[in-house]
């Protein structure tokens, strides 16, 4: 059987060779961190500390009563110097707790390592994951415990660990699979246990044969787990695509993976869950790929959350003269940043500095109706028609063309020979359609 496949998709230049062979190294512990109180999908946290308070590494400094939320923790020890709105990778100012380091990196032990993990009940696993502040580390930053709490009547039989890493340039997940396979497998076991799921699948694109080999070794002897080789094609790691190719189940339009009995987690989240339970370590650091033609010394770094992007870039030798764009996340779905004075947050999988003229500016022409966008859309939409409707403000038509189903993967914009920003137009239409539905 060949590698699993889905309809549509594109083959961008992957450029993973910049960092794929570089082992994860710990970045130096920063003098100052900026911890936004909102780093996840859901309700923002309220601060639990005041300006002037001393904090220790791993101390919970923000939390919320809301179910869909995740607490934030101090990632260094030191003193809270300010609680104020700061730059945030999502583009708006978000209240953040700023901590100046005392240089000692003293850990607190709010979260105890669990001696006998096997004895934990699903409820206990969920509670521990929540208190560790773990969210989806693939980029969407959806609180992990919420995904582990399916509503009444929705039985989950399959857990998929997403090791596709289909975004070009990024290699953080690749390195985690090579360096922490046992933690990933253990995390998967915990997730399966919390959900009562009988099957675990680890999906990896076949451009990472070493990761496939290592992970296959790691699941050897576990009859309820398998490693699936995925065809190397963007957006293989998109939730709906990954579920379709690994389980042949189709997530209904407007539905969630749990509607088809599946829960997805990223490899980074699996590692974080393992470390939270085994070591009592809350989510205070993550692996970030700092890469791109504009970075002098690309690297895979273990970074304390709240470290400023500018500091990481300096750590990697700084930006080259010709850099025109800095992205948090990958180049297909990541966000271009106007400044590097912003913190790494839980969902920051990469920092990519681009130099090409194309990244800086492109002139868009008229649609020549070549239908390349129609062929590449993994959701089977007609992107050019939705974009035209959006351009003319015809949102009823955009809705009829299923604008709300767009997963914003960027394939249509990528492939358009006329360089029309189709994804951008569809985003506008989608936002408008969803806003109208809410009424």
């Amino acid at each position: 059987m060949g590698a699993a496949n889905f309809r549509g998709g594109v083959h961008p230049e992957y450029r993973k060779e910049l960092t794929a062979s570089l082992a994860i190294t710990a970045a130096s512990i920063p003098q100052k961190v900026v911890i936004p109180l909102h780093q996840h999908t859901g309700a923002p946290c309220e601060p639990l500390v005041k300006v002037g308070d001393p904090v220790k590494t791993g101390q919970k400094i923000g939390d919320s009563e809301a179910f869909v939320s995740a607490p934030v923790h101090a990632s260094i020890s030191g003193t809270v110097t300010a609680i104020e709105p700061c730059n945030h990778p999502l583009g708006r100012k978000v209240t953040a707790i700023i901590i100046e380091s005392d240089g000692r990196d003293e850990w607190c032990s709010e979260l105890e390592p669990v001696e006998k993990v096997d004895d934990l009940s699903p409820e206990e696993i969920r509670a521990l994951i929540r208190s560790a502040g773990i969210v989806g580390l693939g980029g969407a930053a959806f609180p992990a415990h919420v995904k582990l709490s399916p509503p009444e009547g929705k039985a989950i039989d399959t857990v998929i660990i997403n090791g596709a890493e289909c975004e070009p340039y990024l290699t953080a997940d690749h390195r985690l699979m090579l360096e922490k396979p046992d933690e990933i497998v253990f995390g998967l076991e915990l997730i399966m246990k919390a959900l009562g799921a009988g099957r675990g699948i680890i999906g990896i694109e076949d451009n990472k044969p070493d990761a496939l080999r290592v992970m296959r070794q790691a699941v050897e002897g576990k009859s309820d787990m398998s490693v699936v080789a995925l065809k190397t094609k963007y957006p293989q790691g998109a939730e709906k695509m990954l579920i379709q190719v690994t389980t042949r189940r189709v997530v209904p339009s407007g539905g969630l993976p749990l509607d088809v009995g599946v829960v997805n987690h990223n490899v980074g989240s699996a590692v974080a869950i393992t470390e939270a339970l085994k070591k009592g370590k809350p989510l205070i650091e993550r692996v970030v790929t700092v890469t791109g033609e504009g970075v002098r010394r690309p690297a895979n770094l273990l970074v304390r959350l709240g470290t400023l992007v500018s500091e990481l870039i300096d750590y990697c030798g700084g930006l080259k003269e010709e850099t025109c764009k800095v992205i948090t996340g990958g180049p297909m779905m990541g966000l271009a940043q106007p400044t590097t004075d912003l913190p790494v947050i839980k969902g920051t999988s990469g920092i990519v500095a681009l130099t090409s003229e194309d990244a800086a500016f492109y002139e868009n022409g008229s649609c020549i109706r070549c239908a390349a966008c129609v062929r590449t859309c993994p959701i089977n939409l007609v992107p050019t028609f939705i974009a035209q409707a959006a351009e003319h403000g015809l949102y009823d038509r955009a809705e009829k063309l299923h604008a709300a189903d767009c997963i914003e993967c960027g394939c249509c914009s990528y492939i358009c020979p006329a360089r029309i920003p189709l994804t951008q137009w569809i985003r506008i239409a989608k936002a408008e359609v969803l806003a109208r539905r809410k009424g």
Partner: protein
């Protein structure tokens, strides 16, 4: 870093393919047809193609007040495709007028590339046929003279096999396939056309649906209603596929991106419609050939077909049933 960071919506990387690269691929795909045309009809073929391409590019550059004569390459494609529909022995001003009208009336008045409803090359040809019909219809088609580059090919002319002319019908199927028969520049050699189409398919610019629907219907209708005049009904179907402009139309004209549908099902319906109208004209109409008007008619229907064939979105089929 010079201090300025660009921000824009994702994605931040783009394919290297552009409108210009697609047009270049179409020109490359027409290469074999051009070579065969020059081989069969000599210098006159070169002149006709050169004048049409030159006039088309010049007209577009002047209209757009653009210094780059080649531009996105679409005018060159239009000019060459127009020349492909003409006999080699037409006076030079016929391709010139055809190309100018193709660019202006067929394309620019709608707003330029991407906006035109009708295939510009076929608009140009339709205007030429309406204006100088006697030069473009009847037993005017030059008989090929291979290996004679400077030969006067106007000396011997004949009717197209499609006219039903007894003499013209003596052409063999293999002759039709290779292209050694009287006809316009681009319609003679099936081999060269298919070769070019495979290149376009390989580059992902055309898929099987439009040519498949078009040729399939022509073959079926030719076999069923062709009267079996050519050996037997099945062979008559093949005769209709290989004779005249069907292959040129199905592979290069109907597949024009701008004027054909974008959804997969619409492409198939569009192709079948082209085949149907072509055969209605051939079998029951007053003209021996109907490809031009079939494609132009279907061009007009393109937005409508697209509208009714929006594909099912992912996950729309049915709710997942637990096994």
């Amino acid at each position: 870093m010079n201090g300025k960071l660009v921000i824009s919506s994702s994605p931040h990387i783009r394919t290297i393919q552009s409108v210009q690269s697609i047009m270049l691929d179409v020109l490359i795909a027409l290469g074999p047809v051009v070579l065969v045309a020059v081989f069969l009809f000599g210098s006159r073929a070169l002149i006709t193609m050169g004048v049409a391409m030159g006039a088309a590019m010049l007209t577009e550059a002047l209209w757009l007040r653009r210094w780059n004569i080649f531009g996105d390459g679409s005018a060159a494609v239009t000019g060459l495709l127009l020349a492909m529909t003409l006999p080699a022995n037409v006076p030079w001003w016929i391709p010139a007028i055809g190309a100018v009208t193709a660019i202006i009336i067929g394309k620019q008045v709608y707003g330029g590339i991407g906006q035109n409803i009708f295939n510009p090359a076929l608009v140009g040809r339709a205007i030429l046929v309406a204006s100088w019909g006697s030069r473009l219809a009847g037993p005017i088609w030059p008989v090929p003279k291979p290996f004679h580059f400077f030969a006067d090919i106007s000396a011997v002319t004949a009717a197209t096999p499609l006219s039903g002319d007894a003499e013209a019908l003596k052409v063999s199927l293999s002759q039709l396939f290779i292209g050694n028969m009287p006809g316009c520049l681009g319609e003679t050699s099936a081999v060269a056309l298919i070769f070019g189409a495979f290149w376009l398919a390989y580059k992902g610019h055309i898929d099987w649906r439009i040519p498949g629907g078009f040729l399939g219907i022509v073959w079926i209708m030719g076999a069923l209603f062709g009267g079996g005049f050519y050996i037997n009904p099945v062979m008559t179907g093949f005769f209709h596929v290989l004779a005249g402009g069907v292959l040129l139309g199905a592979l290069f004209m109907a597949t024009d991106m701008v004027t054909s549908p974008v959804t997969p099902n619409a492409k198939l319906i569009f192709g079948m419609g082209c085949g149907l109208i072509t055969m209605l004209i051939r079998l029951f109409g007053a003209y021996p050939e109907g490809v031009t008007f079939a494609i132009l008619t279907m061009n007009a229907l393109t937005p409508l077909i697209d509208k009714f064939t929006i594909p099912r979105k992912f996950g729309e089929v049915k709710r997942f049933a637990r096994l």
